[in-house]
């Protein structure tokens, strides 16, 4: 068992830390205020080839694993870029995974290089307003018509749809009433986000203002059959393949954000003098920070355990979910504690930690809730009755 990064992994971490240094606290505070997409940051990451980290070398990627992608995602969030920085590149990192696994050679050739080069920007349309976490109940309909499918429906929370030109879209092709199981009859597409046929409406939200999330209204959108990933009806299978990597990545991001929040809290606790002593001299301030550190370390280890299993081609469902759960809990605690440690200043934007607290809610809520992870572990690991 080896708990150390190898030389290349350290080099990756180092290089990402350096890129991020050019985008300091002021940059992210300004994006949180004006809501502008962090184009300059994404450009820097793209130009240095990072979007292709986990994509096959044959299509211009670097062919590394989810372990390395997690190191990248963690380093971005840890720099203070938080979820604003991480989400801005997250989807290009592992979103294309279903194309890699289930796409044809022609599709890979057509879709992957522009994603890696940052020429295409993708969004991910799974969640729907009326299906919620019960994903198989999604109602967006795709109906075959010769060489095309005609799609109608609604998606909710689709991140980056304001600037994306591509969408990975999950649809229902066979009505659920005609399927033996709800997971059947779903079909996945990777296609142009045709803004003439899709109305994209911004959702005002709590944090991460710079990276938009949207409601999509899809009205007779036409998708060529050539843009279907996998066979008709295999959408669920294609989707499942990307779930574990996504959870691992989001967990790595959460740990990073929790750590930068903790670092700020520790620095403030050393410097802030009240009652003639640094506030950190009080165990009531110091001990919770120590607990945050331990919880974040443990979560980080689980992230890399899950990533190692995935990269070794082994099942990692329990570990990926556990990593997401532990990371979100630990980081949420750390961000909240960081605000509290700062006292009134924790509530002031110029100290940055209130932004972290708003952003850390995202990995707590998405892409799967903490409740459903507990239900999964209860059912799959502990042999309890299915509770959802």
């Amino acid at each position: 068992m080896d708990f150390e990064f190898n030389e290349q992994q350290r080099a990756i971490q180092d290089a990402v830390v350096r890129i991020c240094r050019a985008f300091g606290d002021d940059y992210w505070l300004a994006r949180d205020t004006d809501g502008e997409f962090p184009e300059a940051f994404v450009k820097a990451i793209t130009e240095s080839g990072w979007l292709g980290i986990a994509m096959p070398e044959a299509f211009g990627g670097s062919g590394l694993g989810i372990t390395e992608a997690a190191i990248l995602a963690h380093a971005i969030a840890r720099s203070g870029a938080g979820m604003s920085g991480a989400s801005a590149v997250h989807l290009n990192l592992f979103g294309p995974n279903p194309i890699v696994v289930f796409g044809t050679e022609e599709q890979k050739q057509r879709f992957l290089p522009p994603l890696i080069q940052g020429k295409d920007r993708a969004c991910f349309g799974v969640t729907e307003p009326d299906a919620g976490l019960n994903t198989t109940r999604l109602e967006t309909r795709a109906v075959r018509d010769g060489d095309h499918y005609i799609v109608n429906g609604r998606k909710h929370w689709t991140t980056m749809a304001q600037t994306a030109n591509k969408i990975l879209l999950v649809t229902r092709t066979t009505p659920i009433s005609e399927c033996a199981k709800p997971s059947e009859g779903l079909t996945l597409f990777y296609t142009d986000l045709d803004q003439a046929r899709v109305e994209v409406r911004l959702i005002e939200k709590m944090g991460r203002k710079a990276v938009d999330s949207n409601a999509l209204f899809i009205d007779d959108m036409i998708i060529p059959v050539a843009d279907r990933i996998g066979a008709e009806g295999d959408g669920w299978k294609c989707l499942l393949h990307g779930l574990n990597p996504e959870r691992i990545l989001i967990a790595a991001e959460a740990v990073g954000l929790g750590q930068v929040a903790l670092e700020r809290a520790a620095a403030y606790a050393r410097e802030r003098i009240v009652f003639d002593r640094p506030i950190g001299k009080n165990q009531a301030i110091q001990h919770p920070l120590a607990v945050n550190w331990m919880e974040l370390e443990a979560a980080h280890l689980m992230v890399f355990k899950a990533a190692s299993l995935y990269d070794a081609g082994k099942p990692c469902g329990a570990e990926a979910n556990t990593a997401k759960y532990l990371a979100a809990e630990a980081a949420h605690q750390a961000c909240q504690r960081s605000v509290l440690t700062h006292g009134g200043m924790g509530y002031a934007k110029e100290y940055h930690v209130e932004r972290y607290l708003r952003e850390i809610m995202i990995p707590v809520i998405a892409p799967i809730s903490q409740e459903l992870i507990k239900s999964y572990i209860g059912e799959r690991i502990l042999g309890q009755s299915k509770s959802y």
């Binding site: 080099a11 180092d14 130009e47 240095s48 080839g49 670097s62």
Partner: protein
Amino acid sequence: MKILVAIKRVVDYNVNIHVRSDNSGVELNNVKMSMNPFDEIAVEEAIRLREAGKAEEVIVVSVGTSACREQIRTALALGADRGILVETDAELQPLAIAKLLVAIVKQEAPMLVITGKQAIDGDNSQTGQMLAALAGMSQATFASELLLGDDTATVTREVDGGLETITVKLPAVVTTDLRLNEPRYASLPNIMKAKKKPIDTCSPEDLGVDVTPGLKILKVTEPPERQAGIILETVEELVDKLQNEAKVI
């Protein structure tokens, strides 16, 4: 033209360093190590010269333990062509490092050697100068600008109170100051390519160099903790304190 760049593995500049409890030196266990920042500038300058067509090959050399391979790999990821590690676990002082570099210069015959003006660990600022003297090469230290001619280099140096421009004959040793350039960061494709670039290893014995230290470090201590400042009411009080307490005027 070949350019040789000498790089050193040092404690990362972001690390808060601590003196070992037995005062024998600085604690290096579990401490993040990086390439000396002035050497990064040296690597960058060499790569820019190659990119501008002024040089064909950039070779990086480091002297130290096998861990220095990591910093050589970093330089290769930034664009250097190959690496040399003079591997030794011995304690190294500037004179020994300079002698080892002379041996490498004899092997490789570079027209230009670039290295940092000092390493941020010992802050000695000696290696480049000693290397030039021992190898019989010209030297231009503290460079903030470097123009390479066919058989000369014109170097702007940062000196007390201003800038000095000198021309030296090649082969020469140039040491870098902060303002020479802004180093790039490694791209992922270049990190991947660096894995395949060669790093040759040799030992001080192979080079016939005796690295026995000539200086003995007696004791390393932390600087005294800064005392809190005081606020004075009048100028007279200030003058009095400067004269009688600080004894500086």
